[in-house]
Symmetry: C2
Subunit: 218 residues, 2 copies
């Protein structure tokens, strides 16, 4: 039998930098989330609601991704949370090098939980690793209950799915069971939390789950 | 002075096929709309509400674009409207060749108005010509009033902006003036119509405008 050399899997340039980001997070003791969602699903509202419920020992930091504007970063900064705004120009998603650059402008030794808000887009962000520990997909009731069936790639990439704007389930005649079956069809492992960031309902359960995942890593 | 040759602008492959699509529409007497929006903004609802208000002489046809599923096409077909579903796989937008293929499966001589529902995405579809006569951007109140500031490319590409789910302006504390200023900032020419497809409010005004544009072309 010839001695066939085993060639190491060569990562793409993005994935290599994502691994570097992850190693940096580990060194700095930072747990990082990649928040992905449609435009207007409530990513920024989730960040604010989550940060408000963290114990003192878990200090938040934020990277905001948008094509343009600094609207979200201003909202975060107004709460006294360290934040960097990435403007992608026309780009439809964040990538690992953008995160790497943004980290230079954050006080990493003052951050325990980094919340990365990706560009509002239910397609492209799922294809680019950033180095985060968890992919969090934020769906919202106002988008309709058929989204997991129409955008399976995004829901397949999720480690957890949060269904926001739950206070409007009746207004939108939203079928939670149908939505949940759609998520499970492409991703049997991802838990689903139903919440309303605006009303503060269900956010505690999500934060408790998140803190549990952070503790496991320690 | 040397005789400098003027080289004709070479279209990209997509744009060339988009021009072919447009020429086909002209030959067949078809007016075509490219409907672009975030996931769940109400593109399918707009198609159904629009089709229900067309005079008998304006017969609709539909091309549905989604990453996966035929949920929207089924809803259209249930109303007796000719429809083709394009599944892009993972693709984040429709392109001109996809439209060209779909046209083979539509009864073009029975269609006067072709409504093309693009993939739900407020970024990528704006960059690909399909051959349509008008780009219609459907925003929705539930996405929030900051979208033109965050996704300027999409709003710049619009010939008209429709703001759907207007029945929920109070629920979402949506600032229509702020939204409109954002649209005008990137696109001073595009008219804005505020409507609710679900409640049937404001749809007549949009259909009247549309029929006027179709008549101009004749």
């Amino acid at each position: 039998m010839p001695n066939i050399p085993v060639v190491k899997h060569i990562l793409s340039a993005n994935d290599q930098i994502a691994e570097d980001n992850r190693a940096l997070f580990q060194r700095e003791g930072i747990f990082a989330l990649n928040l992905m969602a449609s435009p207007g699903a409530g990513k920024t509202s989730l960040i604010l609601a989550t940060a408000a419920r963290l114990p003192d020992a878990v200090r938040p930091g934020v990277i905001e991704g948008d094509l343009a504007s600094r609207i979200d970063a201003d909202a975060i900064a107004a709460r006294g949370i360290p934040v960097v705004q990435i403007n992608t120009g026309g780009g439809c998603h964040l990538d690992a090098p953008m995160i790497r650059s943004a980290l230079d402008d954050l006080p990493l030794d003052e951050i325990d939980l980094l919340l990365i808000e990706n560009v509002g887009n239910l397609v492209c962000p799922a294809n680019f690793q950033l180095g985060a520990h968890l992919n969090v997909v934020v769906a919202s009731v106002s988008e309709g209950h058929d989204k997991p069936y129409k955008y399976p790639g995004m829901f397949a990439a999720a480690h957890i799915v949060l269904l926001n704007k739950a206070d409007l389930i009746d207004v939108f005649e939203f079928d939670v069971d149908y939505f949940q079956r759609g998520v499970q069809m492409v991703n049997a492992a991802a838990p689903l939390f139903v919440l309303s960031c605006k009303k503060g309902v269900g956010v505690d359960a999500w934060v408790t789950w998140l803190l549990g995942r952070m503790n496991k890593l320690k």
